[in-house]
Subunit: 132 residues, 2 copies
């Protein structure tokens, strides 16, 4: 049984070493896992990006969120050019650990378009409307 | 220029036909796109799952969230066996449209482990703790 199957039935407060969890993370064929960034105060979902194991470890070590850019194939510390960094507040894995949720303190807008969240294209009936 | 690049600089309130957006969605090599489900009241992030184009259209048409199960390679209307359905409140696409955020009214727990959210494995220093 995998670690995550075992933990499904575990009581609240059960603890396992972080290293054991990192070793068991089911990265995809590109070595990546999707990461949802949520503002720790407003609970707004800011963006979805990707991390490999090194990016997960670096984010936990440094407390500043570092993704892996699929288009540039390199590490991307959020805000390294814009200054709009994300400080890590909390990291959680889901039941089968194929997704990560991070709660962050976001400096400035999260989106490269200068909107507060990347999710600004809202479906309204048979149209999509641009939000601010 | 792609539709989504064009919309980056669009004013708030700009509208485009939904069909045009669906035609332009950059599904991955499996024809899928990651979908974040967020509770519309509490703002809790409930789960991350995947949709293909049909699942996106079916969800919009029916108002009940339907994912595509990668492990079972079939459509999976959330709650079809458990009764823990998700009613769609709002759907938004992100800046490059390679992720979808849905706001939902969740009946019962979202997770198959009967926890309210799938994200229950919290990093605490060098350990991971099971949340209720």
């Amino acid at each position: 049984m995998t670690l995550f199957k075992e933990l499904e039935g575990a009581a609240s407060g059960t603890r396992v070493p972080l290293a054991k969890v990192l070793d068991a993370l089911p990265f995809n064929e590109q070595g990546l896992i999707p990461v949802i960034a949520q503002d720790h105060m407003t609970k707004t979902v800011l963006m979805l990006a990707w991390m490999d194991r090194h990016a997960v470890e670096r984010t936990l070590d440094e407390g500043l969120v570092c993704y892996f850019s699929r288009s540039r194939q390199t590490y991307w510390q959020k805000g390294e050019t814009s200054g709009n960094v994300q400080e890590l507040v909390e990291m959680t894995f889901d039941c089968d650990a194929d997704a990560i949720l991070i709660s962050v303190a976001q400096t400035g807008p999260a989106c490269h378009t200068n909107r507060p969240s990347c999710f600004y294209l809202r479906v309204e009936k048979d149209e999509v409307s641009v939000k601010s």
